[in-house]
């Protein structure tokens, strides 16, 4: 028991969902309060700024659709990270896995002569495999040699960024690019349809929602999901019971990387229509999805809500740029602050806070 002024903190490892929700909201509130200082530094009234952002994202159809568009890769990756974090695979490399998915999809789009539906199907399959293998590498290093997965996954992101850079400057540079560094435009058979009047590539959105639902069912109801929860919660007991720990963690790595690969396919086939610079393909979705998974507290269905929320934060970047004359990258400050406060309030989950003013000492 600890006392801070009139508040008493009691340890309670059983965190009820109401407390989890309250603490998560507290973290968001703190993050937006801290971000208010950034607005002040730009000479913008924070209250006015938040009002503008709210109106132009939540209440304007086109603003909201932009939020949804950004939520698509966040949801796909976030659902994969929910799986990965469950088995203690600390995947910070979804950004790279996304890029590999984009590269594989671009390869199919540009060089495989196939008809309309099959071309897209093959692009998604190739993207899943490429993202999955990119994630399998650090998983194998961790399982076989005990190499820290946070470092390897993070560093492989940079390898992926330079791989994309080499392709668009070198072998895949478009004939029509006129000195710019990007590939040729994908043929029509390799681009995804949009919801009319928006930039939302709905097949990927559908895929992401199905992934969230599917992973939820798999975790709660399937034998593989059971195995995954056992391995994540107590690997020692799992190996005592002779459960296949190695195969389980590896398959989770493949699935998580594969879902990030899907996200990469969606971005190039649904948004850009070509392979271009890594920092244009992804706004840092692989990193932001960590917040999506963390906020969702390991629940893939909740990730739908948290992905939309973070998607709207990205959409607010457009608002800030156009209506408030601030740089788009202020969204990075938002992301950083949200993650910072989420992690720093984590310990509070395991304490019950009570109001108990100090009385006379007895």
């Amino acid at each position: 028991m600890k006392r801070v002024g009139p508040l008493v903190f009691e340890k309670d490892l059983n965190a009820p969902s109401a407390r989890v929700a309250a603490i998560s909201l507290l973290a968001l509130l703190l993050a937006f309060s801290a971000a208010a200082l950034v607005f002040l530094a730009y000479g913008v009234n924070p209250a006015q700024a938040y009002r503008t952002i709210f109106i132009e994202t939540m209440l304007s159809p086109s603003g909201f659709a932009e939020g949804v568009r950004r939520a698509i890769p966040l949801l796909l990756i976030g659902v994969g990270l929910v799986l990965a974090f469950r088995v203690q695979f600390w995947n910070i490399g979804a950004e790279g896995q996304l890029l590999l998915g984009a590269v594989a999809a671009a390869g199919v789009a540009l060089f495989v002569p196939l008809g309309a539906p099959f071309k897209l199907l093959l692009m998604f399959a190739a993207g899943f495999v490429a993202g999955g293998l990119w994630a399998a590498l650090p998983v194998l290093l961790k399982l076989l040699l005990g190499v820290n997965d946070v470092l390897t996954t993070l560093m492989l992101n940079y390898v992926a960024v330079y791989l994309v850079g080499w392709l668009i400057h070198g072998p895949w540079r478009g004939k029509s690019a006129l000195g710019f560094a990007y590939s040729d435009k994908f043929p029509a058979a390799a681009t995804l349809p949009l919801i009319p009047g928006t930039y939302v590539h709905w097949p990927t959105l559908l895929l992401a929602l199905l992934a969230a639902l599917g992973v939820w069912v798999v975790l709660a109801r399937s034998g593989w999901g059971y195995l995954l929860r056992v391995v994540g919660d107590n690997p020692e007991a799992a190996s005592y019971a002779r459960l296949p720990v190695f195969a389980t963690v590896l398959s989770v790595g493949l699935a998580a990387g594969g879902l990030a690969g899907f996200a990469g396919v969606g971005e190039v086939a649904g948004v850009h229509g070509r392979l271009l610079d890594a920092y244009q393909i992804s706004l840092g979705y692989g990193y932001t999805a960590i917040i999506v998974a963390w906020l969702a507290r390991g629940n893939p269905l909740l990730a739908v809500a948290t992905a939309l929320f973070m998607g709207l934060v990205f959409a607010s970047g457009d608002v800030m740029k156009i209506s408030l004359q601030m740089p788009f990258r202020v969204t990075d400050v938002f992301n950083g602050l949200i993650l910072f406060f989420l992690i720093s309030t984590e310990r509070l989950l395991y304490y019950r806070v009570r109001w108990r003013p100090r009385r006379e000492r007895d």
């Binding site: 109801r221 399937s222 034998g223 593989w224 059971y226 195995l227 929860r229 056992v230 919660d233 107590n234 020692e236 007991a237 799992a238 190996s239 005592y240 019971a241 002779r242 459960l243």
Partner: protein
């Protein structure tokens, strides 16, 4: 106050934990200039006693008297200030720092250049006691023995007059151990008092002036080493009285289930742990493995359950090697039930189907059938009297006894051919102990072969049909339980084979 006769005395010290009395009205007197050994098995109360002396927690009753004054130690810092030093079993050093920096951590030193002047003092101590280590080496470069010497030097630098060593030889090679003993003697001759905790009889006899034997939280007696014999200590350690008698129908043994022949295996540190061990276990019987901890029990269990491979020799269960995926089902009640036996955040029901979740009726294709799982769990919970009787409660909420019932309910399901139970009643209360014993007897009488590994000789005597004593990686003696003589078993446990 007159000059106190003793450096430290304990008067009727008692410490209770939920469900157990860890230390029960213990009185002890330690004069200056003595090496005093605390001898006892796991769970005898040695560690609890030390933790009270070092200020980790206060005794519930009784007094700790330091140099004639009653003291209430509230923290290790207070113990250090008085002059009590502890060398923990597992070194508590910062791996990324040098030895010198680690030693400076425990000292009241300057904020800048904290290691200045320390080097000379360390060199003096090192020279005096013959400790060898490089003060500028990083801790991660040191061997376990060197880390221990650093811990000793730290305690001495802090001015310890009473030095407590918790199982110091468990991490040492024989050569390192004899060097340690020499240093301890040297300290004793300088007037320091050393409390030496161990469960190894030989080394206690070799190094101690007096020996106090602890058993189940009580002090059995204190004798001078010169008058003690290994046999006498072994008897004191395991006790003479039979506390409980289990009624069991006579064993009707069948064919051989478990067979080990000349089995050799290494432990985690690569040292030989099993040195040509052979045993046979038949259907319908309970074979009790008695022995002092650390004589190869853990490696034996790991070989039998398939978690470790043999270096040479043979091990089979119904003719199949234990690590083979085709080997028959084993019911394994592991040593550390909380870490090895359960998945803490999964429900009781999910824990109960750990081995069978993929089989019908618990699974249909890739999906689990939770209705069947919960029905099964509810029946098992009722049958084994697991509290709380809630299939959805997470397993981490269970008490030790209920946890063990949960593990037994899971491990005995499906009638395993072989049951391996390691310290199955360690830390359990009387009623849970009785239930565990009854279940093991019942399973064996229904045809299972039961391998019982326990340090509690009472338990081994009461449950087993045959008793085998393990010492130094081999079976040194075997006897039918009804004919077994306690004294002789105690001698075997001490490694005395006549």
């Amino acid at each position: 106050m007159t000059e106190a006769k003793h450096l430290l005395s304990l008067k009727n010290v008692t410490k209770r934990f939920p469900g157990v009395v860890a230390v029960d009205r213990m009185s002890l007197e330690l004069p200056g200039g003595e090496v005093h050994a605390l001898l006892g098995e796991n769970g005898a109360g040695k560690t609890t006693l030390v933790n009270m002396l070092y200020g980790f927690y206060p005794p519930d009753e009784g007094e700790i008297i330091w140099r004639g004054e009653v003291r209430r130690l509230r923290s290790p810092q207070e113990a250090i200030r008085l002059g009590i030093g502890l060398v923990p079993q597992h070194p508590l050093l910062v791996r990324a720092h040098t030895v010198l920096e680690n030693l400076a951590l425990g000292m009241p030193s300057a904020f800048f250049f904290p290691t200045r002047g320390l080097e000379r003092r360390i060199a003096r101590l090192v020279e005096r006691y013959g400790f060898r280590f490089d003060p500028n080496a990083y801790v991660w470069q040191l061997s376990e023995g060197e880390k221990q010497r650093v811990e000793i030097v730290r305690a001495l630098l802090q001015g310890a007059k009473l030095l407590i060593l918790d199982e110091p030889t468990s991490v040492l090679t024989p050569q390192e151990a004899s060097e340690l003993f020499k240093a301890l003697e040297h300290m004793r001759n300088e007037g320091k008092t050393v409390v030496f905790i161990s469960h190894k009889l030989e080394e206690v006899l070799a190094v101690a002036d007096r020996i106090s034997v602890l058993r189940k939280g009580r002090l059995v007696g204190t004798i001078t080493a010169a008058q003690a014999s290994k046999e006498q200590l072994a008897r004191m350690m395991v006790g003479r009285e039979v506390n409980f008698q289990r009624s069991k129908p006579p064993a009707r043994t069948g064919r051989i289930v478990l067979e080990l022949h000349n089995a050799r295996a290494k432990n985690d540190r690569g040292l030989p742990a099993l040195k040509g061990l052979s045993l046979e276990l038949r259907q319908g019987e309970i074979l009790g493995i008695a022995g002092v901890a650390g004589n190869g029990q853990r490696e034996l269990v790991e070989i039998v359950t398939g978690a470790r491979r043999l270096e040479s020799g043979r091990a089979t269960i119904n003719g199949i090697p234990p690590h083979s995926p085709r080997r028959p089902r084993i019911g394994h009640v592991p040593e550390d039930r909380r870490r090895q036996g359960i998945v803490p955040n999964l429900s009781l029901a999910e824990n109960l189907v750990l081995h069978d979740y993929y089989k019908p009726p618990f699974s249909r294709g890739p999906l689990l059938n939770y209705r069947e799982i919960y029905t099964f769990a509810a029946a098992q919970i009722k049958r084994y009297h697991i509290e709380p009787p809630a299939p959805t409660a997470p397993a981490r909420l269970l008490s030790g006894g209920n946890l063990q019932k949960l593990i037994l309910a899971r491990e005995l399901y499906g009638r395993p051919a072989l049951i391996v139970a390691v310290h199955p009643t360690y830390g359990l209360d009387v009623s849970a102990t009785e239930m565990v014993h009854d279940l093991l007897i019942k399973s064996s009488r229904e045809g299972a072969a039961v391998l019982l590994v326990s340090e509690d000789l009472d338990e081994v005597m009461a449950l087993s049909d045959r008793i085998a004593v393990i010492f130094d990686g081999g079976i040194v003696g075997e006897a039918a339980a009804h004919k077994a003589d306690r004294g002789r078993i105690a001698m075997w446990m001490a490694g005395v084979v006549s």
